[in-house]
Homo-oligomer: 160 residues x 2
DNA sequence: GCATGATATTTCAACAGTCAAAGCATATTT
DNA sequence: AAATATGCTTTGACTGTTGAAATATCATGC
């Protein structure tokens, strides 16, 4: 087994881990990864608008509407017309939604951060260098990546 | 911006690159990433069975049926009952399917292999070590990853 | 004050991908 | 031959996704 195979396998494990995490969520939280991501965004500030979610997730507003519909049905969030700008709808999280967020399994990102922090300085440095190298190898162009790693956040970049 | 952020961003770029590649395919080849993956598997040997595809992609046979349906409709592949075991159906690729494969944009994997091969020995070693480290960080358990990196291959691992 | 255009959201119709369950045809085992 | 196993497709359902059209509400210019 040469280095290329070893690398490819590792890369695939990484990709797969994000998928796996998605399923953990579905099982334990009762919402799908995408829905969970919506819930996370709403949960950050307690309430937000459809537009914001659409932008953050890089999906269309129509998609957000259907996603929020499902969360409303589950009792995780509520919709309420904004009083300031009545075109807007504030979507806010319910206690049940908060509980779902709180009870969610250790997110991938946290897992990463925790283990990364525990590393020796030299190893951290090596990892950072390697990751950047690999990212550069794979993505040809500009990416407006923010420091957030989520399943469900890795989606459409249209209408940007 | 600390190392954690930098790492997370790089990781996300990597994840995103696989998504992007999916869209390149859709645009230039006229098939979706998943359909393309099916085509790839069939193309490897020129013909194969539904079961094989289902196992390789880790999806149910029902899914494969619907995917192959679409490829048949597109004229990329053909179905033909096996003469040896008439329960089986051999799915084989057509010239059009071959052309689609041949004309596809540089796959992620090739891109990776090419650039990886061009690296200095020490850098390759570092990358391999880092990738394995990261993979271990993220995936808690056993993964039967084969040395194949594809969008669309990173899917359900049930019924294994 | 009100017409015009911009903005925020939802509704609708349509896909792709996915699966479980059921059905069908064919092999294999007993 | 009967029972069981295997390979595949059909059916019905659900999530995620979008573009286009509909609705409601600002915001501006005149």
């Amino acid at each position: 087994m040469d280095r290329i195979d070893t690398s490819l396998i590792a890369l695939r494990r990484i990709l797969r881990a994000t998928e796996m995490f998605g399923r953990e969520i579905t099982q334990s939280a009762g919402v799908t990864p995408v829905q969970f991501r919506v819930l996370q965004i709403i949960g950050e500030t307690g309430q937000t608008t459809a537009k914001t979610i659409a932008q953050r997730m890089r999906v269309s507003q129509a998609t957000v509407t259907s996603l929020v519909d499902k969360l409303v049905r589950e009792g995780m969030v509520l919709r309420e017309k904004s009083t300031l700008d009545r075109r807007q709808t504030n979507i806010h999280i319910t206690p049940k939604g908060k509980k779902t967020l709180a009870d969610a399994p250790d997110p991938l990102q946290q897992r990463f951060v925790r283990k990364f922090s525990a590393m020796e300085d030299w190893e951290q440095a090596m990892l950072v260098a390697s990751l950047e190298r690999i990212a550069a190898m794979l993505d040809a162009e500009d990416i407006d990546a923010s420091p957030v790693l989520d399943t469900g956040d890795i989606k459409r970049a249209s209408e940007t």
